[in-house]
Assembly symmetry: C2
Homo-oligomer: 209 residues x 2
Amino acid sequence: MASPAPQSPAAPRRRRASPLVRRADLVAATVSCLARLGAKGATGREICRRAGVSHGLLRHYFRNPDNLLLETYEQLCEDMLAQLEAAAMPHAADPLEALHRYFVAVFSDDWAGPEIIGAWMVFWQQARSRADFAAVSDSFNARQRALLQRLVTQLPQRGEGGLPMADAIALLSAVLDGLWIEYYLSDQRTPRGRCIALCDAAVRRLFAA
Amino acid sequence: MASPAPQSPAAPRRRRASPLVRRADLVAATVSCLARLGAKGATGREICRRAGVSHGLLRHYFRNPDNLLLETYEQLCEDMLAQLEAAAMPHAADPLEALHRYFVAVFSDDWAGPEIIGAWMVFWQQARSRADFAAVSDSFNARQRALLQRLVTQLPQRGEGGLPMADAIALLSAVLDGLWIEYYLSDQRTPRGRCIALCDAAVRRLFAA
DNA sequence: TCGCTTATTAGACGCTTGCCTTATAAGCGG
DNA sequence: CCGCTTATAAGGCAAGCGTCTAATAAGCGA
């Protein structure tokens, strides 16, 4: 009774948090909003609502909702790339195993889970019309492909009859993206295990000796 | 001077049109809006603005903007599927040629041009959260894959060493989708010609004798 | 030529959004 | 223990949206 009557159940969020934590909260809420509600529903106010803070706080940490979106995109790319590297690198001894780990990481719940995957679609959409988003997308794509290339070139050298190396890598990359979309559209139709198995099959087929 | 002073330059759109034409106008404007402005910018009012009609007209033809979106999706799928069939069917004599025509049609400006391609991304996004959009997406996907399968099974029978047929088709389909995304994200990085060439290469590689 | 159907416009209403400004209090340094 | 920084909340404002209603006129049939 002494406390100022917590009338609204979600209101007393008056505890301070370190700026880093709050920023992370808002970024996480943004991802969740994008995944569940799409571009239209991921409004600044809704994001703050989901993060459990007042809508004025967004402006205190980011210039505007668009900026928050961009920063979320950057961080998501950075995190995914780091995890992809971490998954694939410790297996330099067995290139096939390294590639397999890479595939597993790509379809991990951390990036392709139902709470995330929808956000990528929104970012890609932004990348077509906004230069800043396109820059992030380009950089991410280039680094991801470089990593893939590094893994692939460690495969046992194959004969001369196969595809040009550039074509094979482009095709493998396309397979990854395509299966990812497939998985995105319905994780029932093409479950994760099959996606990974198909990636492995593609490697064997595209880089056959 | 006699006419009622056409003060607003875009206002005197008072000419009647057949309902079918107007509906088509609105659908076309919707696609354009989605491609240029994304999900957020494709508001009912903006669509009508771009179609050159007053915003009240939307309600006269569609229950609400969402319904217009869904109908646009349906029609786009229908049109694309029809054109894919038309492109591939008259070449039953040469299966490879039929597949090539199919690829050309997939990357045609009609479906992957800058004025269209962005719309698909929005539809896919909707398909994740809305059942009606998902139904359209599923149906379209199934029919497209059935067509692809029909084309592929006409290839000269290959030996026993290759991939299971289901895997090969799934991979070819993934290659198509993946290259499509690549092309979407930047038609500079992977131009259309290269996409088509890579598809042809994938066919040779996946369905080798 | 007239009148009826209906395609089309114009406007009002309530709601939500993004932006900004002001007021509060949490928690650290002294 | 006090006071300053600043994280946080709250509210006001204009603009835009979706929905709905009422008014207008285009063009066909009689």
